[in-house]
Symmetry: C2
Subunit: 178 residues, 2 copies
């Protein structure tokens, strides 16, 4: 079982990073929202880089786990790509921000090394998942390319939908995959 306070810090930091980016969130803002002081946040996560790294790893695990295994989805009659698209779309509507991977990917030029590494892992895991999904669907063609296209399209669509405050950028883009 996970430590509840640390998890609250991670969730709060995740929301802030996804809304405004790594360079915009701070220990004080996270602490204020959690209801403790910034020094207490440092107790759990000594540096900003370590906090963001933990956020990214947690986000990756949660995301991959939330969508489930492509094989299982396919076996139960669902199209795994539709599930993947729905997971992205839900994040736009529910939260007020973009995908953590997309945000950190854009900001890579000002990120600590360990956060960059964790961000790359997020995308590698996503491409892996999508490759399995397209394999399930018996996709004819370059599966690796198709996986990269899928994640690229949805990340871009999410970011533009977010700034335009117009979900049709996402929905119109997602149509390309069906």
């Amino acid at each position: 079982m996970t430590n509840s306070k640390e998890d609250l810090i991670l969730q709060t930091a995740e929301n802030m990073i996804r809304e405004s980016g790594y360079n915009s969130f701070s220990f004080r803002k996270v602490a204020e929202k959690v209801g403790i002081k910034s020094a207490s946040v440092h107790y759990h996560f000594p540096t900003k880089g370590e906090l963001a790294e933990a956020v990214t790893k947690r986000y990756t695990e949660n995301f991959i786990q939330a969508i489930g295994q492509p094989q299982d989805l396919h076996a139960s009659g669902k199209n795994p790509i539709d599930v993947y698209i729905a997971a992205f779309r839900g994040a736009i509507v529910a939260d007020n921000g973009v995908c953590l991977g997309g945000m950190l990917g854009a900001e890579v030029g000002s990120l600590p090394d360990d956060v960059i590494k964790a961000t790359r892992t997020f995308f590698l895991r996503n491409v892996e998942w999508l490759e399995e999904a397209y394999q399930c669907l018996n996709y004819k063609g370059d599966i690796n390319a198709k996986a990269k296209q899928t994640v690229s399209l949805l990340e871009g669509a999410m970011i533009i939908s977010n700034v335009m405050k117009d979900i049709s950028y996402f929905d119109s883009s997602a149509e390309l995959l069906t």
Copy 2:
């Protein structure tokens, strides 16, 4: 004719925002690179928001002007979509950053209103351009959707290529449009 010093400030700020984001660049860093003091940057652009707004407007004009009119490209035997893709690709390779629109789009949660407005204009102009391009190509189907798909795909591909330091994300993604 444009003021050379102001243009140098704008270009420097653009490079920094595209590499690390709005929240990571500062008057002092821009000034240092230009070879003046931060107070002198404030003389040209009183606030950070005004500077970023000017950067975004300049970037938009430069980008649209650089790729040319879709009709002209088509008339001279070029596929305007290929030109558009090449313009994006060139920016990844030449500069060490992503598209300004994609960066600011991700960071929208921490941007001054005027910068958000300028960023939206960038995307509207891009979609407009792409709609004209697909019209030239006699594209059958929803032209607005196709334009949104195109810009979403390339923005996402650019951001992921940048963080993965792997241009194949961009090239594989661009294949989807041909």
